[in-house]
Amino acid sequence: MSDVLTQDRMALSRRTLLKAGALAGGGLMLSATIPMVARAAVGGAAAEASLNAFVSIAPDNTITIVGKNPEIGQGIKTMLPMLIAEELGADWSQIKIVQGDFDPAKYGTQVAGGSFATPLNWIPMRQVGAATRAMLLEAAAKRWGVSASGLKTDKGKIVDPKSGRTLTFGEVASDAAKLKAPDPATVPLKDDKDFTIIGKAIGGIDSPRIVHGEPIFGVDTKLPGMKYAAYERAPTFGSKLVSADLDAVKKLPGIVDAFVIKGDGDPQSLVDGVAIIADNWWVANKAREQLKIEWDKGQWGDHSSAGYAAQARAFYDKGQGTPFREDGDVDAAFGSAARILEAEYQYPFLAHASMEPQNCTSLMREDGVLEMWAPTQNPAAGHATVCKLLGLAPEKVELHITRMGGGFGRRLTNDFMSQSAAIAAKVPGTPVQLIWSREDDLRSDFYRPGGWHKFRAALDNDGKLVGFTDHFVTFANPGAGPFNPANMTPDEFPASYVSNLRYSKDEMDTRIPMGALRAPRSNGLSYAFQGFLDEVAEAQGTDLPSLLIEMYSGKEKAPDSEGAFGSTAQGFNPERAIAVIRKAMEISNWGTPSASGRGKGFGFYYSHQGYFAEVVEASAERGQVAVHDVWVAGDVGSQIINPFGALNQVHGSVIDGLGQALSQAVEFEGGAAKQSNFHDYQLARMPMTPQIHVEFVKSNNPPTGLGEPALPPVIPALANALYKATGKRVRTLPVGDSLKA
């Protein structure tokens, strides 16, 4: 079974389905099926025995497990092997973990995105462990001449309870490797109550190497004879290179080569530019100052944030946009309303700004194979893009997945891989490491798209919400329509919960690259919708959590919109929403007034199959915002697989969301991004860190991911808290100076 889904798995329209299927650029290929590739034991008694693609066991009982998914800091290289080790009956101290190369035939889906790893692998990885355990038991049973069904495992040993005999996994591994692997689907899995590894706080497997400064990230890749490359592209998106004078650069000391690279016109693949190769990256990068390049900006050179805002205004002046959901009789509801609320919310473009700048190392080998070391969240898409770009057969591109210094969705798009591959193809036999500067990174992103929402709400004589409209203004790639992160599904809450409802849309074309940023789409929609619903609740004389509980009460479970989450879909369960809302109210003492000058605000959002309700307490003295406390209640199912990683994801999401909301925006001028480094694109720093209180509400549902769903609700919770503290609604992000007198 294979689900071909788009970047964040939503909006599975026919068009996006086809696009994702091609896997060019951002599409994700997701499959819940794990191949159990049986492999023969290698070498003699002293060597490791490979029981399948994921597990090898050495005679000294060291167990090596392959972490198949890319590690961006979400903890997956530790967490997926925990699932295998649990069912294997291993002791965690025996475990070594190695990063798997890109090899979907061996490992199945390998992707870091959409908080998808947990729901997609929760059962299959455990099945791998259980099937491997069955092979070890069978090998021991044969040696002892007993039935495998009577044997047990205990911390890396096989035990025969009748005789008390034991064998280590390592002692039977080479025998076990010769056995036929059982069908993973037929092997029984442990009861949750018997878990000894799942649910334990286990430290990141690479952390000891990191605190000692050992090479482990993509940019740490070092090959014999390796050179370094910088890539100069046009600041204006959509530009073409007309001519370049490279003479001055080539004469500089330390420069190995410089050449023009013509792109294929697709920003997700390769844009025109000049590559400069040197023995030292600083030398290559500095040489860019000497380049003389003529660019043709085409039709995009006058695009600007101000222009987009004016276009949005023109859309609002013109009418209501194109409806994409219409329930009941909206005009009648507003015609007979006792009270009508109206407000516009807007949010800006954002950059990802992962700490490790984009980079990739490539070598065109003498055998015609392109070998790559890539910090990519989406190796399948990167591999496909490179193969297409260079006209290479899939087996001619070997891809090593490296640990990444953050991803946040940026590395789902693999333009840096294309650049690196194109450079390596020009200098066969020489490994070259392409590194972007921070300025390159902030000015060549696939940005979180900005958006505008004009809301109206109709209340009847009893204050009941009887009508709701949103006119959404967003961006589209020319000829392709809005990419998912710039889109909104017809099922966005409160659709289905208000009888008379209209969602409509206007789109403007842009060549500014857009992509998925942590909790794509949800990170903007949560702010706008939960912010406006807070206004509705106030007008009703209630508060947002009470309004939401009332709306969700007694409602049926609903399928996830447009087939989202594929085979792992559980549907939206209003009862789970109510439980976390109540829990957040409880742990934050919601009803208790804040100290003078402070205010508490609430936000709830369901995304990536996770239910999160959050309360922020903030103040804004003389416009200076301080966030004091954040209370988080979340339901991601029956298990918190690794509490260490889980809490880190929640804390990180909360601060990430607050940082965005308080100070981040990318603006455009002359078709280019204005922001260039951390002085004008400000990330959250330690002094702004609030106290964060997290409580997981466990529910009887399969576990789902935590990389994203804790982020969306904190933004409206902050905006709503600042309203309580100051009396001013925050309808534009970032908060910035908007609260100053």
């Binding site: 030398v283 210094g405 921070r438 880190n648 990180g652 480094n677």
Partner: protein, 160 residues
Amino acid sequence: MAIEVRINGVTHSVDVPEDMPLLWVLRNELGMVGTKFGCGVGLCGACTVQVDGVAQRSCSLPVGSIKGEVTTIEGLGETEVGKALQEAWLEVDVMQCGYCQAGQLMNASALLERNPNPNERQIKASMSGNICRCACYGRIHEAITQVAAAKLSAKESADV
């Protein structure tokens, strides 16, 4: 022209322009890649090293200007405070992606060497130049506090 620079107790001679930042000498000339490139202009702290115990941004430090002893993340474990911080980092499980952590550790150890018992405000002020994009700030703070407290209690025991 060869430039001599002492790093983690070893004298290295490199043939690079004097204005090449120490970061790129470490990473591309000497193969010491623990020190990380983040912004190139001293705004993020990922490249933090110590020169004579003082935290410095190696991305903006011309190699020709260095007079003192450089300590990098590769040599941090040689000091008592550095080793204690590395251990606390693992015990608290500070990191997510880990990319900024070398810089965080170098800055934290410089802080504790000059102020063995910093309060919350001092820790936040001293660490404010180091960005953690994954926002592990709570745990970084916790690990620093833990090391400071352990040192303090060890000192008190010794004083009795």
